[in-house]
């Protein structure tokens, strides 16, 4: 019996050593150690062993079983390692092939621009508003201190609607977002801290003008608002939108609905404000180190009066800039023809 057990062990050792894969090992396990295997078969002969020897043989059988199981497990693990070590070859894929992408949509540049501008002003407590794009002359011009013969009110500058003239004048396609000024002031809630972003329309179509474009209009009216605040807000915007290293300056300008009026310049991001390009020649992007950002000014007392706000009590500032220009300046994008923004060529749109 003892010999038979030892022989069995030897047989298992040889079989395991010869096994080439997991399936063969499986068969060995079943054949020798399984419920109906040879070890079990041998142990059936235990009945014929003397009671005296029985515990000894039993212990031996158990020891051999454990040893065989150990052998098989060790071999199995060895075979698995060998198989895994070969994965680089057996399961090799060309990983330079493209992946499977989730659907890829695209927001229009203007949406991105509007989002960024809105967020920038939200941080200092300006609330985005919406006012009509088709409005009365009164809000677009008259209440903004623009005389009836002002060039902007000529029919070759502004789109007029085919509609009867009302008490508020002609119906126009807003040529700027400034129609929001008196409309917002008329709410009579102070302080006014508004950022109005909307479509605007002017009768111009060439490489640098689109008949429909976007503007953002800021308006801040409260007690004791001075030029220092206008400088602060515009400087904050320039630095957070374009970069902390950019500088701004105000230059005198002329608009009817602000007094004083300014043009805001920002230091050129290409030449660093030096006006001298990398090639030691004049910077081609800017004018003497500065780029024009847009117009601004202290709200004209006549505009406050038009909205029934007492200019002796309240003062404020306003600015209104083109979204397209401002955003393209930020991204340093040179779009040769601004109309490309509204041509909706998918080759263009899918780049953003």
């Amino acid at each position: 019996m003892q010999d038979q057990l030892n022989a069995l062990k030897l047989e298992v050792e040889q079989a395991v050593a010869a096994a080439k894969d997991a399936a063969e090992l499986e068969n060995i396990e079943i054949r020798y150690l399984g419920r109906k295997g040879e070890l079990t078969g041998l142990l059936k002969g235990l009945a014929g062993v003397s009671a005296e020897d029985r515990p000894k043989i039993g212990a031996l059988a158990n020891q051999i079983k454990v040893q065989c199981e150990g052998l098989i497990a060790a071999k199995r693990s060895g075979l698995e390692d060998a198989a895994l070590s070969n994965l680089a070859e057996t399961e090799r894929e060309d990983v330079t092939e493209p992946g499977v992408r989730p659907p890829e949509g695209h927001l229009h540049l203007m949406t991105k621009a509007i989002n960024e501008i809105t967020e920038t002003f939200e941080k200092i407590g300006f609330v985005r508003t919406r006012y009509p794009e088709v409005d009365w002359d009164y809000y677009a011009f008259e209440s903004l201190n623009m005389p009836p013969d002002h060039p902007a009110r000529d029919e070759w500058e502004t789109f007029f609607m085919d509609a009867p003239v009302s008490e508020m004048g002609k119906m126009v396609l807003t040529p700027h977002t400034s129609n929001s000024q008196v409309r917002e002031l008329e709410r009579g809630e102070f302080p006014v801290r508004m950022i109005n972003i909307a479509k605007c329309y002017r009768r111009q179509s060439d490489a640098t003008h689109v008949p429909m474009f976007h503007q953002f209009e800021g308006l801040y009216v409260d007690k004791n608002v001075s030029i220092t605040h206008l400088r602060g807000v515009l400087d904050y915007f320039a630095k957070s939108f374009f970069g902390a290293d950019r500088k701004t300056r105000l230059r005198p300008f002329h608009f009817r609905f602000t007094e004083p009026s300014f043009e805001i310049d920002i230091s050129c991001g290409v030449c660093g404000g030096s006006g001298i390009g990398a090639d030691k020649q004049k910077c081609k992007i800017c004018k003497r180190g500065w780029l024009e950002l847009g117009g601004a000014g202290m709200v004209h007392p006549n505009v406050l009066k038009a909205a029934k706000v007492d200019p002796k009590k309240y003062s404020g500032f306003a600015f209104g800039w083109g979204v397209e220009r401002t955003y393209l300046m930020k991204e340093g994008m040179q779009i040769d023809d601004l109309r490309a923004l509204y041509k909706n060529d998918l080759r263009f749109l899918k780049q953003f």
Partner: protein, 822 residues
């Protein structure tokens, strides 16, 4: 409007000693007109010198070429030259090796290199004026070189060749730029705002500079001899002003016996620096005075005028040939200067061709006037003609600018063209001039600027700008100088003057942080969300014009008649304010179809609905979303899936879908609408093949969503249904039904069976396939779905699920004649 300002010229009116052009540019830009560019003068004339021709010898190999020996001071040069007027003892311009010239005045400048011409070495080039960019100053015939001696009457003095400064020739070898007085000059390109016509002249610009830079203003406005004026029609020229409203002042003077000739260099040089081409002394003087004083001037040949001058509006059908050689026809709104028989000028814009000053003109009439800026602007626009004069007139120069400008013009003509002033000048004006007067308090100034300034500083600034000031306590009263009577409109404008001269750069920046006064309009917040969701779902956003053409609308089956029209559209492409985004989407898809077979597009924009009859009220601007799907299988399914996705993401849970038919725009079998609370949320589906075809598109599906209702119903709040603790049972079911039977009804029936079970079973049906065709009878379809059964109370026994399946198939058979497909 931008002005070109010569630094050298400007220095005649303001003391700029010790101020570099760069410093001038920086300081002026912060307080006044912005200097945008600085162009050094004479830079193009580097290595171009004056030479004296010593001898001229024939060229051995060419008849038309000769060899000049030229004294260049330190050396003598041998130069091959083809100039027809070349001769010995001539003063010429020599371009040395390394200089830049234009061959025969054409093409880009090239750098001169040592060269052999027909076998003879040439140490440079004797230039024609057009080869060194001076043709406008010194016009010449072809092949004629620039003869400096003849041009300047040398022996001519070096340095600034102005009349009366000697006629000695310069030292040979002197740089030409020095001789022409250009070396130290720069021309500044300065932006002058439209309200400051005064600063469009040298004198006005100098006044600005004097105030801003705190330098002396040198201009002296007393001409010699002083000009005698006569009001009304009694002067040397008979003038009637019929159009009184349109002409505030008309002055005229007559000078007899002038000699029309080219202007001297100093005058030509001033005009050239401002980009104006010299013509002859009389015309040049008009332009010079305009550049100097920002007051346009016109001169007529007196002999061409028929009787006295009348300033009147045009008559319908009247015509005139202007100085630009073109004919202009008028309606009855253009302001004209006329004599007794014909128009002699479009007032403030351009003179008539046949009344202009010519080389043989003997007597001239000088016109200096002020016109209504609006009439000038509209008139110029109407006849489509622009001029330097008109650009200034439409900005409204003061009536008080006229006498000074006229006196200056007379002074210069007498000096440069000779002749004799006939009688006093005529001066016809409307009303009398009363200077404007405004006041402001120091407190108002301080509170608007946000910086405390001394009253003395405020007063000093205003005085330097020409205001006459009186102070009473904190009150500053200012009389506005005439040259500012157009732009100073109230006390507030005085604050601007003080602030800008103080310097905007010196005002500190303070950010007024605060909380937003109110939350953002939910429409704006949801609009952003919808856009983000759409792009996230794989759609590409487009922006199309709010105004579209009638043709585009018609192509998509819309009638533009009820829509708001633009009265003055740029072109018929931009004529109608759209009430729908769909035609634009179709157009965009159509334009992209050849490059992109598959497209998923969306746009969010306002559309413009009528609010009543006849557009007496503003249109109702409604925010809408449109989307388009083309190129995939069953595009309508993608369109619907997109809307389902949006419904889910925007938290809208209660809605019903209803088949849409009977709308010519939409495909009658493949369109559906979704409603909530009885309001339309979206129309979704394929469009009629006819319309798709019109846009050259194959099957195309659209989504039309009025966002107002969505935003009303949208919610960010989430609700929660407990998940069952017991496993769900899943079965698949495929049934064959008539193709009119709809899945929604099948699913509802199945769900009902589960709900009505003794032990309520939550049942859901998930569609996964519909099949028509082979192996199925005509008019039938096979619909396949996953059914899921779950109880909140316990695990369902297999037999229970079998029983439910049995009930469901029976019910479906009963209601829809459904056969279970094996």
């Amino acid at each position: 409007m931008n002005s070109l300002v010569s630094y050298d010229w400007l220095s005649e009116y303001v003391d700029l000693k010790g101020v570099t052009p760069d410093e001038f540019a920086r300081r002026m830009s912060l307080s006044g007109p912005a200097v945008e560019k600085i162009h050094p003068q004479g830079a193009d004339l580097e290595k171009v010198v004056v030479g004296h021709v010593l001898e001229v010898n024939p060229h051995p190999n060419a008849d038309k070429l000769r060899i000049a020996v030229v004294d260049l001071g330190k050396e003598k040069a041998q130069i091959v030259c083809g100039g027809s007027n070349l001769k010995a003892d001539q003063w010429v311009t020599v371009a040395l090796i390394g200089s830049k010239v234009r061959w025969h005045g054409e093409g880009d400048p090239i750098t001169l290199e040592p060269i052999e011409i027909r076998g003879v070495k040439s140490d440079g080039m004797i230039c024609a004026a057009n080869e060194i960019g001076l043709f406008d100053a010194f016009p010449h015939a072809e092949r004629e070189i620039l003869d400096l001696g003849a041009t300047f009457g040398w022996n001519v003095g070096a340095g600034s060749p102005r009349p009366g400064r000697g006629n000695r020739a310069p030292t040979p070898g002197s740089p030409l730029a020095d001789v022409l007085g250009l070396s130290d000059d720069v021309v500044m390109d300065i932006e002058v705002t439209s309200n400051r016509v005064d600063a469009m002249g040298m004198v006005g610009m100098a006044r600005e500079a004097a105030a801003i830079l705190k330098k002396d203003f040198l201009f002296n406005s007393s001409p010699t001899p002083p000009l005698k004026l006569r009001g009304g029609a009694g002067g040397g020229v008979k003038v009637t002003v019929s159009a009184k409203k349109q002409c505030g002042r008309y002055m005229a003077a007559k000078i007899e016996g002038v000699t029309v000739a080219p202007s001297p260099w100093w005058l030509k040089r001033r005009l050239l620096s401002a980009g104006i081409r010299p013509i002859n002394n009389i015309v040049d003087i008009s332009n010079f005075v305009m550049l100097e004083m920002a007051q346009p001037i016109h001169t007529f040949d007196a002999a061409t005028l028929d009787g006295g001058i009348d300033v009147r509006l045009s008559r319908v059908g009247e015509k005139m040939n202007a100085l630009d050689g073109k004919e202009y026809a008028f309606d009855d709104t253009v302001l004209l200067i006329a004599d007794q028989s014909k128009p002699i000028a479009i007032a403030g814009v351009m003179g008539a061709e046949n009344t202009g000053v010519m080389s043989n003109t003997k007597d001239v009439v000088i016109e200096v006037a002020t016109f209504d800026p609006v009439v000038i602007r509209r008139g110029a626009r109407k006849v489509n003609l622009q001029s330097d004069a008109q650009l200034r007139f439409e900005k409204g120069p003061s009536t008080e600018a006229c006498p000074e400008a006229l006196a200056r013009a007379v002074e210069l003509i007498l000096e440069l063209a000779g002749g004799k002033l006939v009688g006093p000048a005529t001066d016809v004006r409307q009303g009398t001039y009363k200077p404007l007067k405004y006041s402001v308090t120091t407190d108002e100034v301080t509170s608007l600027i946000g910086v405390k300034l001394a009253q003395k500083e405020m007063v000093d600034t205003l005085r330097r700008l020409g205001f006459q000031i009186k102070t009473t306590g904190k009150k500053i009263t200012a009389i506005v100088p005439w040259w500012r009577d157009h732009d100073i409109e109230d006390g507030r404008d005085l604050i601007e003057e003080i602030a800008r001269v103080y310097g905007y750069g010196a005002i500190p920046a303070v950010v007024p942080f605060d909380l937003a006064p109110r939350p953002m309009d939910p429409e704006l917040a949801w609009e952003k969300h919808v856009r983000d969701l759409s792009a996230g779902a794989g759609l590409t956003e487009i922006y199309s014009y709010s105004f579209v053409s009638k043709d585009l609308l018609a192509k998509a089956g819309y009638d533009a008649a009820g829509m708001l029209h633009v009265q003055n559209p740029l072109t018929s492409d931009f004529e109608v304010m759209r009430t729908t985004l769909l035609p634009s989407l179709l157009q965009v898809a159509s334009e992209n179809r050849e490059r992109f077979a598959e497209q998923q597009l969306f746009e969010v924009a306002n559309v413009y609905y009528p609010t009543g009859e006849g557009w007496t009220t503003l249109p109702d601007e409604q925010l809408e979303l449109g989307a388009l799907f083309v190129g995939m299988t069953d595009p309508w399914r993608h369109a619907k899936g997109y809307v389902e996705f949006l419904l889910n993401e925007m938290g809208i849970r209660e809605y019903t879908w209803k088949r849409l038919s009977g709308d010519a725009f939409w495909h009658p079998g493949r369109s559906v609408q979704v409603f909530a609370n009885g309001k339309l949320l979206a129309t979704v589906g394929e469009i009629s093949p006819k319309i798709a075809q019109a846009f050259k598109l194959d099957r195309v599906a659209l989504v039309d969503m009025p966002l107002e209702t969505w935003i009303e119903l949208a919610t960010a709040a989430k609700s929660y249904v407990p998940v069952s603790n017991f496993p769900e049972a899943k079965r698949d079911l495929a049934i064959v039904v008539d193709h009119h039977v709809e899945f929604d009804d099948i699913a509802r029936a199945a769900v009902r069976i589960g709900a009505q079970n003794t032990l309520p079973v939550k049942t859901s049906a998930e569609w996964f396939d519909t099949y028509r065709g082979k192996n199925l009878p005509e008019g039938k379809k096979s619909v396949a779905m996953h059914l899921t059964f779950a109880s909140q109370e316990r695990t369902l026994e297999s037999a229970e699920v079998d029983a439910l399946m049995e009930k469901i198939t029976l019910t479906l058979k009963e209601h829809f004649e459904a056969e279970v497909r094996g």
